[in-house]
């Protein structure tokens, strides 16, 4: 079986593997999935939800006798990461919703991840326990103390195997460093530091130190009336530990070099596509707001997602993207109603496959898009309970923008804008993808013949 590569979005046929979550349509707010992330090996898949809970799935080791049955992801650990809090100073609720999860590269037997809500980042250690000591002299097996007068011999306690227990414990709490709402966290390639970004500031932390944080970007104007843009996402370069980027609500991306100065308010590079002023409308700035920025695995490119498109930028070229893909251009003639129902402010994420040849992003009606960079082809697929038979191949979907609707096409007006796929993740090496609908997690795999 050829694994690795992880290429080819379109000669790859995707088929259903698993779906997690409740079937009923009555979705409790706490069950809304807010982030999805594979770890660096792809063996673990973490989800965070609006209720502050984290669920981690583990890929089962492949069953060699049944090669068609690609390994499944089963629940490994689940814990309550964040609780709702009350900001007494502002009389505002601090939501427990998990905004982002980022895994640390594995250094020993335990796994570590960072999870964050609007205000506080936590470092969690997930460790396995499969043995326990038995045969204490002073205690019974159930923990009760033995009567010392009844002990006549001594024995050496030994470790005996037990049922696997996975424990999650909070090792660090990084709090009180953000006045505004945290939208991103990113672990540095140096494995010692990470950044956290809110609407106006970016802070640098050391993973071991919780009582101090360095502010490295501050775009808060002296007079808030002069506020023109906010930070929407930030990420460290995958190999250069001194480089990070942050995107803005105005559609620009700034690349900063921490060697240049302590406060990186002055960017090293500014990525911005020039806009045709005659095309400008009320919606222009809103739809140009970047909702996600991700470096390619090879570190040469970065991808940005705005409301209607995905853009690939070469880090060496600031004045325009090298590739632009339309995600759902048919929505351009619906912007008025999308503004009225707030959908125009939805923040879609995007992700790269393992060898940077295909990118993926979500859309409405539980559709998601695979954009193949090398073959210049794209496909729209759907995450639906109706295509849930084991190994059922996903059929490409087509949206009819106007005029005569062909068979199998769906018209723009029939799209369900409450069914949004905001969060997707791609296994770092294999063609396995995790797609989150409102409250369900779908896992799709490449069809194996």
């Amino acid at each position: 079986m050829v694994s690795g590569a992880g290429g080819g979005g379109n000669d790859v046929q995707w088929c259903f593997s698993q779906v997690k979550g409740a079937i009923d349509d009555d979705v409790a707010e706490a069950d809304i999935i807010s982030t999805v992330e594979f770890n660096h090996s792809g063996e673990l898949l973490a989800t965070g939800d609006k209720g502050g809970r984290v669920v981690i799935f583990q890929q089962e080791t492949e069953n060699k006798s049944q090669p068609q049955c690609r390994s499944e992801y089963n629940v490994y650990s689940t814990f309550q990461s964040h609780e709702p809090e009350f900001d007494y100073l502002k009389s505002l609720e601090i939501e427990e919703k998990i905004n982002k999860i980022r895994w640390l590269p594995q250094k020993n037997a335990a796994q570590f991840l960072l999870s964050t809500n609007d205000k506080t980042i936590k470092l969690w250690k997930i460790s396995e326990r499969d043995k326990r000591p038995e045969g204490y002299n002073l205690k019974e097996e159930d923990g009760r103390y033995r009567d010392a007068t009844t002990i006549t011999t001594l024995r050496v306690p030994v470790f005996r195997p037990m049922d696997l227990m996975v424990e999650a414990s909070p090792r660090r709490v990084f709090a009180n460093a953000h006045t505004y709402h945290i939208n991103s966290i990113s672990v540095n390639s140096d494995n010692e530091t990470y950044l956290s970004a809110d609407d106006l500031r970016i802070n640098l932390w050391h993973l071991e130190i919780t009582d101090r944080s360095f502010n490295i970007v501050d775009i808060k104007p002296a007079n808030m009336e002069e506020l023109t843009e906010v930070i929407t996402a930030a990420e460290f370069h995958p190999h250069q530990c001194n480089t990070f980027v942050y995107s803005s609500s105005k559609g620009t991306i700034r690349l900063c070099d921490m060697r240049a100065s302590a406060l990186c308010d002055k960017h090293s590079k500014l990525f911005e596509e020039p806009e045709d002023p005659s095309n400008r409308s009320f919606f222009s700035e809103i739809i140009s707001s970047i909702s996600d920025v991700k470096f390619s695995h090879n570190g040469r490119y970065m991808m940005t997602r705005d409301y209607l498109s995905v853009k690939i930028w070469d880090l060496n070229m600031e004045n325009r993207p090298v590739e632009t893909y339309q995600v759902h251009e048919y929505l351009r003639s619906k912007l008025c109603s999308l503004y009225e129902n707030d959908c125009i402010f939805d923040k879609f994420e995007c992700c790269w496959n393992g060898n940077d040849s295909v990118v993926m992003t979500g859309s409405y009606n539980n559709f998601f898009r695979m954009l193949d960079r090398t073959q210049r082809r794209d496909v729209t697929l759907e995450a639906s309970r109706e295509s849930c038979k084991p190994r059922q191949v996903l059929k490409p979907r087509r949206v009819c923008a106007g005029g005569k609707r062909k068979k199998d096409e769906i018209s723009v007006d029939s799209l369900d804008f409450n069914k949004k796929i905001l969060h997707t993740a791609w296994h770092p090496q294999e063609n396995i993808i995790a797609v989150a609908t409102t409250n369900n997690l779908y896992i799709f795999q490449e069809k194996v013949n």
């Binding site: 609720e93 009320f282 912007l335």
Partner: protein, 110 residues
């Protein structure tokens, strides 16, 4: 006379815009429904709304009462006595249930 000619070139421009740009057509629709939109500095209004997201409460007591009411709705099988106390009266510390938001496990973990 010249005024009319100007008006018709403007109309032509608008028609061209509609044909050329669906975005401009949508903008016209929006302006028709909300004529005051964009007359104030819309940019910073939107941004400031974004910076302050989240429901504002009068104080922490107000917040705790709202949470208790929500918990009543979400967990109807919860112990009746405790929730009766906190639902309609200002709670004292000993009356408040421990704030464990999600005793319910995630449905993904089933």
């Amino acid at each position: 006379m010249s005024g009319e000619v100007e008006a018709s070139t403007e109309e032509q421009q608008e028609m061209q815009d509609t044909v050329v740009s669906p975005e401009k057509a949508e903008e016209a629709k929006l302006k028709a429904r909300y004529p005051h939109l964009g007359t104030r500095p819309g940019g910073s209004d939107l941004l400031r709304k974004r910076l302050q997201k989240g429901q504002k409460y009068f104080d922490s007591g107000d917040y705790n009462m709202a949470k208790a009411k929500m918990k009543n709705k979400q967990l109807p099988t919860a112990a009746a006595e405790k929730t009766e106390i906190t639902g309609d009266h200002i709670p004292t510390p000993q009356d408040l249930p421990q704030r464990k938001q999600s005793l319910v496990a995630s449905k993904l973990a089933v």
